[in-house]
């Protein structure tokens, strides 16, 4: 259980990136954070990852406050951020250096198998395509068996076909490890394809605006009527979030809108 309690972040220059965020995410739930640019999605993710410190409020994972990078929390960045001097296997195993050599090799091999890159283990990152690199970075986060996996627009630089492929890889890994997942995206289709719940954020200052539950069976077909209806609901919520309004309602009050 990951809970975010009245979390705020104001940057040194006075920018209020986040204001009073309250969110509880069940174990093994997939939550999509969606919203226009500048609504604090990435800031929120960096706070949960422990890379930045909040100005107010706190983040609690299974009763333990997160104030710096936590072993139970993994992060996949927007760019693959592979270390160019390590080969693919070395990159995947980067975060589990403390494990015995044998176990490390087994886990790396297994993770690479899962993302369909087993035959590329000895390659350099530069020899891979963008989609393959991002798969390596997802495998790198998964081998550490995180309880919470954060993804910051991980597929935004990829073409639609590659993205769909990566969605299935991600879900396959999720089925196996069952971490709590928070994925930041600006792609409504991606939220519908992956998430149990889509949370729409609004900017200036960043707040949670609306919640759309997505109780669809997996695997999901984007062309199915249920998916299309969900997409429309989220788009409408997004539209509302971009309209100026006096004060934001708390997502618990606003939430629950289904379709």
């Amino acid at each position: 259980m990951l809970s975010i309690e009245s979390l705020s972040k104001t940057y040194a220059d006075g920018t209020r990136a986040l204001d009073g965020i309250d969110l509880a995410v069940r174990s093994a739930e997939i939550v999509a954070l969606i919203g226009g640019s500048g609504c604090g999605k990435t800031t929120l993710l960096r706070l949960v990852a422990g890379l930045d410190r909040p100005s107010a409020g706190r983040i609690v994972l299974d009763g333990e406050a997160i104030t710096r990078p936590h072993p139970g929390v993994g992060l996949v960045f927007q760019e693959p951020r592979l270390l160019p001097w390590l080969d693919v296997a070395g990159n995947v195993g980067f975060g589990i250096d403390g494990l015995p050599r044998r176990e490390r090799a087994e886990r790396v091999a297994h993770a690479l198998e899962r993302v369909g890159l087993a035959e590329h283990a000895g390659r350099w990152p530069r020899e891979l395509s963008g989609g393959q690199q991002q798969r390596v970075s997802i495998a790198r986060a998964f081998v550490a068996s995180p309880r919470v996996l954060l993804l910051d627009e991980p597929f935004s630089a990829l073409d639609a076909f590659t993205r769909k492929d990566l969605h299935s890889h991600l879900l396959a890994l999720w089925e196996e490890v069952r971490p709590t997942v928070i994925i930041v995206t600006h792609d409504v289709g991606e939220a519908v394809a992956l998430a149990d719940r889509a949370i729409v954020m609004r900017p200036r200052p960043g707040r949670l605006d609306d919640t759309v539950a997505l109780p669809l069976r997996r695997p999901r077909e984007p062309a199915a009527p249920a998916s299309e209806a969900a997409t429309r609901t989220i788009l409408a919520a997004l539209d509302r979030s971009l309209r100026p309004r006096e004060a934001s309602r708390a997502p618990e009050l606003a939430g629950g809108s289904s379709f």
């Binding site: 990852a49 990078p69 270390l83 000895g122």
Partner: protein, 281 residues
């Protein structure tokens, strides 16, 4: 490094085909031959011109005379003595200058107060042409080996210092964050992220430093030496032996190139992961 990659399957050893495909246009041997064409052609032309009596070749001796001078120096063992003396000076100067440069560059790049304290002075010193130190070094250290090694070390120090400090300052924050996410300790962050990240630029700085080392060894040996390739140059000038001067110049070229090639060969395995334009340029 303990994080050495784990080979998983033997079928993975596929080299990058890009380089070989490009050079298929002209094989490696053919390219080397093309590079030799110009100097060989000029040398042959000059040889013929002198042989035909078009020129006396007194000030610019033909290749055969230079080769003869080189051969005589080599046969008497004199050449090796000079090469050895020069190499020892460059080696010592490079070792001192490069270590000091790496240390100073690493410290000033990682400790801002130290940078504010030291960097302005070093930059000011860098603006002094290194040869200007010669009289002072002779006063301080006499005329034997110490001032020569000191001059070379000063020459090597600055490019290495600038290169290393710049490399550390430009390490990608995004890669450092990867280390933070996996909770690397300070030392592990240095060892597993910073060191490999600054390695390529550091090696380039070392190569520049080595080149300057050879530049300054000539200056150092011209200011008074009884052995060394620079001495051979000076001796050739004083006794009007252009063939000896050219023999010394050729030796410098060969020794300098060989030292550079050795440095590259020794360090290339460390940076073979690099994705550079080297193959395409």
């Amino acid at each position: 490094m303990s994080s050495s990659p784990v080979a998983l399957t033997p079928a993975d050893e596929q080299p990058v085909p890009a380089a070989s495909r490009r050079s298929a246009f002209l094989g490696g041997g053919a390219r080397a031959a093309l590079g030799l064409l110009l100097p060989l052609g000029l040398a042959l032309g000059w040889e013929i011109a002198v042989a035909a009596g078009l020129s006396s070749g007194r000030l610019l001796p033909p290749p055969s005379r230079i080769a003869a001078a080189l051969w005589a120096l080599a046969a008497s063992g004199e050449l090796w003595m000079h090469v050895e003396a020069t190499l020892i000076r460059v080696g010592l100067g490079f070792a001192f200058g490069a270590s000091a440069g790496i240390l100073a560059g690493a410290l000033t790049a990682t400790l801002p107060p130290l940078r504010w304290l030291v960097d302005p002075s070093l930059q000011a010193l860098r603006a002094v042409p290194s040869l200007a130190w010669v009289p002072l070094f002779i006063l301080w250290f006499g005329i034997l080996e110490t001032p020569k090694v000191a001059l070379i070390a000063v020459g090597v120090f600055f490019p290495v210092y600038i290169g290393v400090a710049g490399a550390i300052a430009s390490v990608d924050r995004k890669l450092v964050e990867v280390g933070r996410i996996f909770r690397l300790s300070r030392w592990a962050l240095v060892r597993r992220i910073l060191l490999p990240a600054v390695l390529p630029a550091t090696l380039t700085a070392l190569r520049t430093g080595l080149g300057l080392g050879f530049l300054f060894v000539v200056a150092a040996e011209l200011m008074g030496a009884s052995e060394g390739l620079g001495y051979l140059l000076l001796d050739g000038q004083q006794f009007s032996k252009p063939d000896q001067i050219l023999a010394a110049i050729i030796s410098f070229a060969v020794v300098g190139k060989a030292a550079d090639a050795a440095l590259v060969a020794l360090t290339n395995p460390l940076v073979r992961w690099q994705d550079t334009a080297r193959e395409t340029l």
